[in-house]
Subunit: 108 residues, 2 copies
């Protein structure tokens, strides 16, 4: 799902204990919405509910596709709730994929 | 900790239920050992113990530093145990960081 060259967006965050405005449902909805964007290649998301730490990596065909997702109206609204309510801290790193290997990567 | 340009190594995995050979202690030791390598810039790691899914992102000054860590003898031994016992699947994506932003990034 992430053959080079493509773009990885690494979103790391720490949750607050604020579940107002439907955090869980919104997280699920944003994941479903992301998969329908042009240039979407895949997504992996893990959160440790004990510590509140989470990492989501989404893969995109190019920088333009990753930027376009950042600007989707529903996503912008979710980002605002994230900043003000749901996340104590967050960081986004954008990177260009150069290599991929492992047990579930194609050979070569 | 991950100012561009630098290299991100995204390690995603699913654990088996095999805890032989001291998985937890080895994971902690590898994290501590990584921090002492030349070119190490930072590491974020999250595992959902319910699903067994985990993502670890480590940041390195350049590709050579990331490759050198892959070849450290103790790490090579841990990788072999990972492949044969601890991980049902795993994937490693290497990427060059182009942008970073968020609540804990410097302004700019």
């Amino acid at each position: 799902m992430a053959e080079p060259p493509c773009v990885a967006v690494i979103f790391s965050s720490t949750r607050t204990t604020d579940d107002t405005e439907g955090y869980g449902a919104m997280a699920d909805r944003m994941e479903a919405l992301a998969t329908r964007q042009d240039g979407f290649l895949g997504l992996q998301s893990v959160r440790d509910t004990g510590t509140g730490e989470g990492i989501t990596v989404s893969y995109w065909s190019d920088e333009a596709a990753a930027r376009a997702w950042r600007g989707v109206a529903e996503h912008v609204a979710a980002q605002e709730l994230g900043r003000t309510r749901w996340y104590a801290r967050y960081e986004i790193v954008v990177a260009t994929v150069t290599r991929r290997y492992g047990s579930d990567a194609p050979a070569g």
